[in-house]
Symmetry: C4
Subunit: 252 residues, 4 copies
């Protein structure tokens, strides 16, 4: 089996597309922001990504049908503006090498789609409640840093001190090696729950950059939905068969 | 060494075979149900599957002979009906990517055997005692959901909330990508011990679907046997050499 | 880099050689027994095995020289009898798939050397002090079971209940698939320390089988040496750089 | 994606170059020593090494720009003496096999650069405060041991008892198999913090060996910088997205 599979539902012709990614992470800020953007812009799904680096898991929909955990690519056509490609998904890669493989794979697909500009969305865990979340930034080019500062993004010396871990960071790091121009936007968040305020702060910056108008009314509902799914995934008693190893195995 | 090896003892010609899988998992419901079915139908073993994704372990039989841990394929010929292929085994894959590899491998073998319909059996952990276990379902097609509901299978909104983890789920998820029609039947169980009542509930549904009659008298004995094996595998003092890493190694 | 490297120092021509393996494990019974046998028989090293599945570690000898952790093959020429091939080493493979790869690799080398008969030595952890250790057995053939019983080896129903984990078991399991005739001899041991009494019990059986006479006077000294090395490997403060991940890494 | 990538910024012609490595480890002694040497000698970076075996992480510089975590190669040209190649970096490989792959990769690059002599620098954790750190040694050749002893390096029987774990050890172990002449210099350190005194002890020996004069005034400042970075990497609340697995995943 291939490490990563992509199923194209459509092969859209896109005009100088800009890429936006939001996957599960701290406070699910990136995931919430990207999914809200996708829904508000009525983005169209055109590809599904499956991988051995995701958990061996299917999700069960309300109609009793299953789907394999996945990442998904959507596009948005914009009259007179540059088109968008969005990546959302159930999981990031489970292992460090899986993270590298997935980021490298996505970058190659993006190159083929004509993408040169990337925005990755995430949360910045503060470990305390945040009333007015700032949006922190990191970028591949000095020019982009300046441009982002003009949109209110904060580039604070020593923040984030530990760098950026996971898909949001890797797309910048590997993207730079592939001549991509990329920015990571991180909303401050406590890190203790799904955070719609932080996601809104990130989206307010991003929509200004992209010159898009969206409504935020549904953001809290979406946060609740994601929170519910997340809690269920955490329930120890819930999931069938995920404790095989403890039950029958002897290896840690 | 290949990641997965299959040794065919026989190459049966099967008539539109239906596949049934039950491997170790929550309450060992799936394993118990599938092994009971296998024994009651006097199914014939025709292949053994070995893999690096299983523990590096041999089991010692009562006669002092060893056998490598494995999964096994059995067939059942049925006059005037569709034949059956059963998969039972000692373990599921130990790692996420191992789970994907094994499910993909099994699907390819099933395709070659002419299988198009899959039933995977498992337990649904409730974290509390269950007196009258329901059988929950998940499927790849809306038509199958309806058909299963006719057999008393429960498709409850939000159950299982965390989806299905492991081989039972993956065979549906990857099966769907391979045009298989698949159902997962999950018996409610506490999750604290091998559960013959839950296995019986699952088998009552499955045998109705397959139009088979079996006896359940031996089910409790079989549960006790599996329970004994499971406890032994859990004993800390028992197994020789499984603590090499703690004893001599420095890596977690 | 290859997963496993073998460096041949010599290519001995061996007469129907019999293989004996003893690696680190419960009570280090197998390792102690095999190293004692090797020393008493003045066995000659003819190959070194290195692998990515071992820890990334060198040992420092008393003269300040290093050597990479390894497994080693020795031979013993016997006038008028069958020759011996011994495998001893610092570690077993760290991961399940590494264990499979190493066992498969060793079996292929043994086949090339003309080996058909294997003896693997190990300990059987009792979790309590053992005053007169029995030697338990497991084998690939019914004929071997009978033969071993003649030498006082105990084949006890349900012992070892969890099977045999690690190299000693895998060589039997994979060996059987490769038409090898193999026996695992396990000396009862508490499992709490290196156990020369258990190693002697195993060697008394093995030397009867092989029709060899060796002295056991040095066995206790050897146990002390292995115990010292083992304790050092366990010292938390001792080893340089083995805590890099905790110190600087963020991944578990 | 390749397991390991190297980007050459320059292809220097070097005169019988001597290699020096210092990576993160116990007390960060090796990293601190090598980075100090690099800065004092105004070494020139000529290659960057990226790898799937490092964490999936980018670091954010003070100017808001990111760089993928990496190891780096520097050179120093010396009039009338042998040139130097230095390896420094953010991380060692995360897994045992990653450690082997990286060491093997580096050795092949070094061979191509004409390197035959290696010095790896590290700390030797004492688990207690050390007022006058000794420098312990290990080497691939008896001749080197003698030479090092002439420079005050201590080769103490049974120290380090557990051998040398990680890149510093592997370069010696795999280097020996590749006909390299290699020494590991380990400064005694408590292991509880970044230790400039231990790094100075190591550098005093190394500079005598290499016949180099450097200033140590900046060493304490550099230790503070590394300590700050290290603490940040350890902060639980700090890093965004490094807790994805705990948050949303079900696998340990």
């Amino acid at each position: 089996m291939e490490n990563i599979l992509i199923h194209y539902l459509d092969h859209p012709k896109l005009h100088e597309p800009i890429f936006v990614q939001g996957l599960p992470g701290i406070g699910n800020v990136g995931k919430l922001a990207a999914e809200h953007l996708k829904d508000e812009l009525k983005a169209v799904k055109f590809a599904e990504i499956y991988s051995k680096f995701f958990p061996p898991q299917v999700l069960v929909m309300d109609d009793g049908l299953i789907r394999l955990v996945q990442n998904e690519l959507y596009y948005v056509k914009r009259d007179g503006g540059r088109d968008l490609v969005l990546l959302v998904g159930d999981y990031q890669g489970l292992t460090p090498d899986g993270q590298y493989e997935l980021a490298d794979f996505v970058l190659k697909e993006l190159k083929a789609l004509g993408v040169r500009n990337l925005y990755t969305l995430g949360g910045y865990g503060m470990g305390r409640m945040v009333t007015k979340p700032r949006v922190l930034g990191a970028a591949t080019d000095a020019k982009l840093v300046k441009e982002m500062e003009g949109h209110g993004v904060v580039f604070a010396r020593g923040e984030p001190g530990a760098g950026i871990v996971g898909a949001s960071g890797l797309l910048l790091g590997l993207g730079k090696l592939n001549d991509m121009h990329a920015v990571c936007l991180m909303g401050e968040t406590s890190g203790y729950f799904v955070d719609p305020k932080s996601a809104q702060a990130v989206l307010e910056v991003l929509t200004k950059i992209l010159d898009i108008k969206i409504d935020f009314a549904e953001l809290e509902n979406r946060a609740k939905q994601i929170d519910q799914i997340t809690s269920k995934l955490r329930e120890v008693e819930g999931p069938p068969e995920d404790r095989d190893k403890q039950d029958l195995g002897y290896i840690g």
